[in-house]
Amino acid sequence: MELIFEKSVEGRCCALLADSDIPEYKLKESLLRKAPLRLPELSETDVSRHYTQLAERTHGINNGFYPLGSCTMKYNPRINEEVASWPEFTQIHPLQPRSTTAGCVEVLDLCEKHLCEITGMDAMTFEPAAGAHGEFTALLMIKAYHNSRGDSGRKKIIVPDSAHGTNPASAAMAGFSVVNIPSAADGRVDLDALKNAAGPDTAGLMLTNPNTVGLFDKNILEISRIVHKAGGLLYYDGANLNAIMGIARPGDMGFDVIHLNLHKTFSAPHGGGGPGSGPVGCKEFLKKYLPHSVLGENASASSIGQVKAFYGNFLVVLRALSYILTLGGDGLRIASENAVLNANYMMAKLKGVFDIPFDGFCMHEFVMSLEKLKKNAGVSALDIAKSMLDNGMHPPTMYFPLIVHEALMIEPTETESRETMDEAVEVLVNLYKDALTDSDKLHRSPYATPVRRLDEVGAARNPVLKYSFS
């Protein structure tokens, strides 16, 4: 389809602004822009149709199943969207007098209170705008904590090799060096490797639990003991909290500081890649290091500073609060239980066909390895994923975690029905059969999507990153 610039017609416009009723003030000529402005010139009909066409070429949760592991693509309740559109929230300036923002403050306070209860933390900031931003914030707090104790030699963050890529990247941004430790054969932290890595230079360990292969690390208390004994802090990556709300709390497992993804566990939509919200929660002894807004709040002298302007993605926090109120303490636990039930159901149905590299029950997601299929039939995880696209489904996460070869990671979430999961299982099983008989068909898939497989290598080698106006 055409780009919006290719639809532009000189002189066309939407009549939007009132004429000015004030004499024009002319700025000095030397301050003015000389270059042309090449925004598209369109009617409102043009704009509406262009974006409708783009929407039709986008797969959202409203279009179909979205079992993207580690991303918790649960249904985004529309009541939350409606609440977040009320002028009493959208029209509030972040620097209004506090006496006029009691509602916004209550939203943040209530959400903090409930999320602290869910996670076993004592305080929380909503400033970070996404999970990775929360990781960075929490790591700076860990750094500030060690520095404040004159313990600034702690320059290493331990990260298991199964971790999300954001973990080591955040640690590096916070000025730490990263010690990667291998996972044990069962996908969990290798305790010996951890013992060897932990020492007087350890600032902390970053851990996702349930971990990225969908297993709860049952050695968590031992892990906590090893890290704390070495003088490090324990950091919880909350990407997988959806499995354990009301069942177990990071704060009770020994974690000192955590981040959550409100756009995963707490049903806020992903918006095609944001805005998210990555609040950081901590135990009392770290509270004074939490970030603050210099224009809007009273700062603690020990605060790490701020990581973005104002108080975070407020409307995302509001959506999460709406979700928490609707589900309630009982409903949150039921949501987690059903997320785990659904994942185990799909795993049980797929187990006979696909290789599941880890024994036992999974939490809210599980990983399959297509290594054998690749070896025997030449069909990769990528081929299976691309073939799913022709069935109106978003594929699972591919090639993550890195410790499983030809990985497909499936997270159905609790908001999918048994019928949807059965259909997905049938699609996957049929694709497996097709792979053995007609692998070429899978290599060339997808067929029915708006575009087919792309030349990604070419895109990176000869980058075309904007439209060239002729």
């Binding site: 939407c14 992903h270 309630g328 059903n338 708006p450």
Partner: protein, 446 residues
């Protein structure tokens, strides 16, 4: 069952039996008993949608919406065309994830490609990313792009927004880049001080245009000084102003960043907003975050895809250019729709009205005895005034009349006037300020 769970009790029983267990609790057998929560969460029980609506209405009612907003300082109330809200609420855009599967994500990918094009056009620079969290974190990421082992100092104008400066400092605490403030002189960056500070240890110079006090800086001069010392030059800019004011490229910037909120996003108590970032070609591989590129599919059709991923955390892990994963995609889409609806002439008109109305308002305010401009440089849509009386009294009088006055800053008031405000509202505000000043002056004299 609530909680948006479609399974019936009967289905759950069947599913459990297919798994081979009799209860969900068996599935949690890996969790040690000792860390299990033995009590219900202390959160009120679940309620219906209707009750949630009611409860949140009562919280919403505790906020006060000001019909007239004369406060900016990093968050700006502009007129938002109706179509922007409708398009940004389309369910496909709202509920999709990051466009990893390009074949079914062309809509989002193309919208980002178009956004990148618009940001490059506004800033005059070569390449743009798909957005970052907000203007402040964009500035901090830009500084990180410039640091090098022998250049670990960043010069940041004291006239930049304090929240932006603080964010740059916080990121510096992580990276080890030392943040040095360039002093101000008459409400603008002191160029002599900048010359003195700029040396071979400096990685970049950051200035804001227009600056926190609203003043238009001698940006090109700052750029020359930066480049003279071998440092990169970063401009933090207001995107609406770019339609009429010299672009960052015209001022010699290597990187332009800014708060994209004025492009169709409501105030929303500070977020979600939009951080935009554009740079010269040479810095492409240092840009953080997602970037969308054009390519072809196997049938030769034009298509778009996330590209240059060798910079990113999921590939490079601790060696990545940044840890960014989620950005602000829906906000970038909002900005694109806003820019498409406004068009070049609409955006210029909004900017011209900002300038004209701000100057009208400042001139009228300065006719009030005792009111004068704190600084006399040229300004865009914000300016500082000193008042003969305490700013609290003036602001509370305005508040009583539904007007959010300017922000108290350094004993003065930082006002902001955009095209969203009418002459009638400005005249009303002027009268209120005049009365407040007059009555208090009179009281003081008696």
């Amino acid at each position: 069952m609530g909680g948006y769970i479609p399974s019936t009790a009967e289905q759950r029983e069947q599913m459990l039996s297919e798994i081979g267990v009799s209860s969900v609790s068996e599935l949690y057998s890996d969790i040690p008993e000792i860390v299990k929560l033995k009590r219900p969460l202390r959160i009120p029980k679940g309620i219906s949608e209707q009750e949630t609506y009611r409860e949140l209405r009562s919280i919403a009612a505790k906020n006060k919406v000001f019909p007239t907003v004369l406060r900016g300082a990093g968050a700006y109330k502009h007129y938002i065309p109706s179509i922007v809200k409708y398009i940004a609420a389309k369910e496909e855009f709202v509920t999709a994830y990051t466009p990893y599967q390009a074949e079914i994500s062309q809509g989002i990918l193309q919208s980002i490609f178009e956004y990148q094009t618009m940001i490059c056009d506004l800033t005059g620079l070569d390449v743009s990313n798909a957005s970052v969290y907000d203007g402040a974190s964009a500035a901090a990421e830009a500084v990180a792009m410039c640091s090098a082992p022998k250049r670990m100092r960043a010069l940041v104008s004291s006239c930049a927004n304090p929240e932006v400066i603080e964010t740059i400092r916080t990121y510096g605490f992580g990276s080890g880049v030392e943040i040095v403030a360039i002093p101000e002189k008459n409400g603008a960056t002191d160029m002599d001080e900048l010359k003195r500070l700029a040396d071979e240890t400096v990685c970049c110079v950051y200035i804001q245009q227009p600056n926190f006090y609203g003043i238009l800086e001698s940006a090109a001069e700052a750029g020359e000084i930066a480049h003279g010392s071998g440092a990169k030059f970063i401009i933090g800019c207001n995107p609406v102003s770019l339609s009429i004011i010299q672009s960052p490229a015209e001022c010699g910037a290597d990187i332009a960043v800014g708060e994209g909120q004025p492009l169709g996003m409501p105030l929303s108590f500070g977020g979600p907003y939009l951080g935009f970032m554009a740079a010269k070609d040479a810095l492409l591989r240092k840009l953080p975050g997602r970037i969308v590129g054009q390519t072809r599919d196997v049938d030769g059709k034009r298509a778009f895809v996330l590209t240059m991923q060798a910079r990113e955390q999921h590939i490079r892990r601790e060696k990545a250019s940044s840890n960014i994963c989620s950005n602000q995609a829906l906000c970038a889409l909002t900005a694109s729709v806003y820019l498409a609806a406004m068009g070049p002439e609409g955006l210029r008109e909004a900017a011209r009205q900002c300038v004209s109305k701000a100057h009208y308002f400042s001139a009228k305010l300065c006719e009030i005895p005792g009111v004068r401009l704190r600084y006399n440089g040229e300004f865009f849509h914000e300016f500082m005034t000193d008042l003969p009386v305490s700013s609290e009294i003036v602001l509370s009088r305005l508040e009583q009349n539904g007007i959010l006055g300017g922000l108290p800053v350094k004993g003065a008031i930082l006002w902001c006037v955009t095209e969203a405000v009418s002459r009638k509202e400005l005249d009303m505000a002027i009268e209120i300020v005049r009365e407040a000043c007059a009555s208090l002056e009179a009281r003081k004299e008696s």
